[in-house]
């Protein structure tokens, strides 16, 4: 009957054991590094998304409270936020770390509809 396992006193057992330990250690370390990197990237993306939302909330609240005129601009969170009107369209331009236009259709009651994003 064949042996299923190498006996402990067999030659090469310590080497095999060391290699196995080394392999497990490297696999664990690399998986930890990979997962931590992914987690950090995820956190960074979340922060960026929240920052952009904060920026847009501030721009929209300013629009509703102060009714800025065409080409009026405010400076917030290291961004210039400029309001552009074109017939029934409101374009809010963000200029800073992020460059993009937030575009809305404006109805007769001044409500903002159909949000869309345009790259600057």
């Amino acid at each position: 009957m064949k042996r299923l396992f190498i006996p402990f006193n067999h030659k090469g057992v310590i080497l095999l054991q060391t290699l196995l330990l080394f392999f497990i250690f490297i696999m664990l370390a690399s998986s930890v590094i990979t997962i931590r990197t992914l987690e950090l990237t995820n956190q960074s993306w979340k922060l960026k998304a929240l920052f952009r939302m904060d920026l847009e909330i501030e721009a929209l609240i300013y629009y509703h409270q102060h009714h800025p005129k065409h080409h009026d601009a405010i400076y917030s969170k290291n961004h210039w936020i400029t309001y552009w009107y074109d017939e029934n369209t409101l374009t809010i331009n963000f200029d800073g770390e992020y460059h993009y236009n937030l575009v809305f259709d404006v109805d007769d009651h001044g409500n903002l509809l159909n949000r869309s994003i345009q790259d600057d």
Binding site: F25, I57, I61, H64, N111
Partner: protein, 133 residues
């Protein structure tokens, strides 16, 4: 090292013990690092969900109380914040904003609509909207 010298086995055992201790300590560190990921992240789903609601409200910047619910206009629709079965919904429809919380409470303090929630012993609080004075 000469194998039949006295103290050889002791020295080898000590070295082996040291190496194993180092490996075990490192593995514990790595495993605890992995377990840290399961813990509450810095930015929770609560923050993101509430920020999305705040963003939607800012589109019209008008939040009002209708019956017992806080409602706002978003694009062509009216949306209301409804708490039922410890979930925060956006109605009409059943868009779940916060799900499976132990408790959710909406209240106003100093012209601010505040939401408080708790889940698995963790407490969350955020300002949804600031009313115009």
């Amino acid at each position: 090292m000469v194998n039949n010298k006295k103290g050889t086995i002791l020295a080898e055992m000590l070295v082996g013990f040291l190496v194993y201790t180092f490996v075990v300590v490192m593995m514990v560190q790595l495993i605890s690092s992995l377990l840290m990921l399961i813990k509450q992240p810095a930015i929770s789903e609560f923050d993101i969900a509430i920020k999305q609601v705040s963003w939607q409200i800012s589109t019209s910047n008008r939040l009002y109380l209708q019956d017992t619910e806080y409602c706002y206009d978003y694009h062509d629709n009216q949306r209301c914040l409804t708490i039922k079965n410890n979930r925060l919904y956006l109605t009409p429809g059943t868009q779940i904003v916060l799900n499976r919380y132990d408790s959710i409470k909406l209240f106003t303090v100093d012209n601010q609509l505040i939401i408080k929630a708790s889940k698995k012993g963790l407490h969350y609080e955020a300002i949804i909207y600031t009313f115009q004075p």
